[in-house]
Symmetry: C2
Subunit: 181 residues, 2 copies
């Protein structure tokens, strides 16, 4: 299904609920994918996301050197793939080939997007001042694309020890919201 642009200031709609994401990166002719559950929205506009990427991971160097990555949002149909990607090393495999994922050309970064994911957020390093201390990259989302359907996909939330939870029902409390957020 053709993805559509999503407003950059509203990336939080997809990432604030805390789903596991797949981070794709590219450097010197090689692409890699890693799983990530340690990240947070930092700002609406500019659209900032903070990623805690362990320096032991090959993606750490690739993102640091290239200054770019794509945050890809898998849904529950990719649960096995997510688990497997989190359990193999990028220097041993081409993960796109290994897991039958399609590397889609990005608009603004060299890192490929993962076509099979529900949404793709192209990112550029905004500030690397805290990378040495906490492996924490402040990234700016510079392009966002989302599948129009389903409107509320079931994503994966990692709890450790190999167990995920998926999203359940929606709870609409709009009538209690007086502030805009």
């Amino acid at each position: 299904m053709q993805k559509k642009p999503w407003p950059l200031h509203d990336v939080r709609h997809w990432l604030e609920p805390g789903p596991v994401v797949l981070i794709s990166s590219h450097w010197q002719g090689k692409s890699n994918i890693m799983t990530l559950g340690w990240y947070t929205i930092l700002e609406f506009s500019p659209s900032l996301v903070g990623l805690m990427i362990s320096s032991g991971n090959i993606s750490f160097d690739m993102i640091r050197q290239s200054g770019e990555c794509v945050i890809n949002l898998p849904d529950v149909s990719l649960a096995d793939t997510v688990a497997r990607i989190g359990n193999c090393d990028g220097d041993q495999y081409d993960k796109f080939a290994e897991f039958g994922l399609t590397a889609e050309k990005s608009e603004h970064v060299t890192a490929p997007a993962i076509a099979e994911c529900h949404a793709n957020f192209e990112c550029r390093v905004y500030d690397d001042a805290v990378v040495d201390r906490y492996n924490f990259f402040v990234m700016e989302v510079i392009a966002a694309r989302v599948k129009p359907q389903p409107e509320w996909p079931k994503t994966l939330h990692y709890t450790g020890n190999g167990v995920f939870r998926t999203d359940g029902e929606r709870i609409d409390k709009r009538q209690l919201f007086t502030k805009v957020s």
Copy 2:
């Protein structure tokens, strides 16, 4: 129900899935509560959590001055309360009284825990080096208590615009996990 201690290195079990939390703080005789969806686990041990707390919020000053807070994990039964707390200001209300919440004495910090929440994580500021730049507090969890039942409570994940999602079913992929995490 009596809460039990939870291992500090495994706070991620509760917070990595990304649920909305209630942050309680205390300074100069006043307590406050705010909702927070912008945070991330940063390290297993020491048990570090990064909190993005907007400087416009009264809790920002209370946490900065006291160097402490409690991260409280509400379940879906508190959805109305969570929505209401997110929509009123701490300088106008005593939120514990206003919302009928019980302020429970903490072990190591002056900030009270919220008795009605499923879990309470007492925190002390570990590093405030990035507070000026990103309102991002690196906190160390120094005590953790969790209700023994239910084992898998339904929590709330905020998507913006007054709409939450709750947790759905569990997906056990332990057989695919070869690494310990």
